[in-house]
Symmetry: C2
Subunit: 332 residues, 2 copies
């Protein structure tokens, strides 16, 4: 295992210590671990909370800040955070207008967020939860009943964050989150595996001439293992599957999110984006917004995912609204 | 070789096509290749041009935009751009106030930028060039006489870009660039090699239990090859070397730049930042600004570099000024 770490058991804690030192706009709490905006709770604003296993950075901690999340709960690497983390985060960002939990569809995350919501309600906080399940690759998976939650999570965090900042109600923000999930589709692929610090060896084995199409963000199996191929064919398969699933149609306007899995050079993501534009052009689907970079990662895995979100004026306006986080920032 | 590419010869061109499609604030030219701000030339403003081999993204193309570079010239991967690229870029951003070339200290880059400056002057454009040589690891290197230019380049591009935006003169912007270089020191390390698309095999060999301290951004040899060690010891060695070189002293305020080499997960960079803060705290050096992420990369190399820049009020103010590029953005 080749990693810039100390004791594998201390990676998450030490990275959070680094986060606390780096970003004065954040407050970082330990035992249980959670990250909140330094100005939380914002009175009269819906609080937005997400969380999940660590190892997907910048998601979620890198998305805490004005215009996006109010709090993030980082679990150990690829391990769900616990209900007490989620409860403390929920209480910390409750400004009287309720709290939205954005939950990626993994069994542990869903169960623990449900428990935290019940505990929050018992303390008098109105809580709504929306489960993100945008991954079209497989129906059920290693840690998931139904589709997995992947790239749409980043988009949902940005868009609901903007709506909450504009003082939308809890019901409105939850409805928006469902809409973003309903109008998003994603799929990924891996060229290499990744190594969790605690395991110290690759999560799965992949031959030197192989890739996994439809990979999950924890290395869960995808649709098929294939021989390496040029980017054009890979993106044709992935984009085609996504487009056909919603389906995205001629005349649709979309946000195209090309995401790196952690170990993929940015130059390759632009090659991927170039392929994607050709495919969408051919279908008459228009990219009006884009996001290109490594935002929902799987440690050092090489590979990419593509997310398409069907836009309308409301979503476009929310996307363009100011955001100030360490992972995503514009307008401020 | 596992890469999301098509023909290895087409990687740079296709990534530039993706860049052109993604970013309407940029204009991308081909044969010769260069990227300029869509609003170039800005009349009465010093134009800032940089460039170098591709494979270090987001540097330089990702730093073209308001408040940073006016143009970037991407060479083939790890290969200097040619004088005609630099000349065309220089002409495209010349708004009557002169043009600054920011040149990383690699023999090919220096030679070609010198030739481009001469050609630009022959066409009546005032050109100044500043060579960046902040890497304390080694004196001479595989492609370099003297110290190599690394992380300080990113900082110099941001800071001179801000000064140029505020209509500083060419002499002032060049002086500022020299100051940033003089007050910066950097050093890197690698856990793994990288693979250029054209070579198709690792640039250098590194054992499963080895790392290279003082690596160059093209995989040039560093100071020593060592057994893997915890992050604390690695960062102590690198930071200690940097601190001792300027030297940085008790009471100094610095910008601390923790850079990923391309294949390093963000969570590890925060572990590194945490170690760095402890070391600087111990020396009485105060971090007042930071930058954490993969900004000057070596394709998919795993590893990191640290750059420290001694700040003063002028530099801090320029750092905080708005910037709008695909790689670095705030305030707009």
């Amino acid at each position: 295992m080749k990693k810039l770490i100390n004791n594998p058991d201390d990676v998450v804690r030490e990275a959070l210590q680094g986060t606390a030192a780096a970003h004065p706009d954040l407050k970082v709490f330990f035992d249980p671990h959670y990250i909140v905006r330094a100005d939380a709770p914002v009175q009269g604003k819906v609080g937005i909370v997400s969380g999940g296993g660590s190892g997907h950075e910048p998601m979620h901690g890198g998305f805490v800040g004005m215009g996006m999340l109010d709090a993030a709960c980082p679990g150990e690497v690829f391990t769900s955070p616990t209900p007490d983390q989620m409860l403390e985060a929920t209480k910390a960002v409750s400004g009287g207008a309720g709290v939205l939990h954005i939950v990626k569809n993994y069994t542990g995350d869903v169960m623990n967020f449900e428990m935290a919501a019940d505990l929050g309600k018992a303390e008098g906080i109105e809580v709504e939860a929306v489960v993100i399940d945008d991954d079209v690759a497989v129906q059920d998976s290693l840690y998931t009943a139904g589709r997995r939650g992947v790239g749409a999570t980043v988009l949902a965090e940005k868009l609901t964050g903007a709506a909450a900042e504009a003082k939308a109600t809890l019901a409105e923000v939850a409805e928006l989150c469902k809409k973003v999930n309903d109008q998003s589709r994603s799929m990924g692929m891996a060229l290499t595996s990744c190594v969790t610090p605690s395991a110290g060896k690759p999560t799965f084995e992949l031959g030197d001439d192989e890739m996994e199409i439809g990979i999950g963000i924890h290395g869960e199996p995808g649709r098929e293992r294939k021989k390496l191929a040029p980017a054009s064919g890979i993106i044709e398969q992935i984009a085609g599957t996504i487009i056909g699933d919603l389906p995205f149609k001629q005349g649709d306007e979309v946000l195209a999110f090309v995401n790196g899995m952690g170990g993929t050079p940015l130059i390759e993501l632009y090659v991927v984006y170039n392929e994607l534009t050709k495919i969408l052009d051919g279908k008459g689907v228009k990219i009006t917004r884009n996001l290109i970079g490594s935002y929902i990662t799987s440690l050092e895995m090489a590979g990419c995912s593509i997310t398409l979100l069907k836009l309308d004026d409301e979503l476009t306006k929310l996307w363009d609204a100011p955001v100030k986080t360490s992972g995503l920032r514009w307008g401020v």
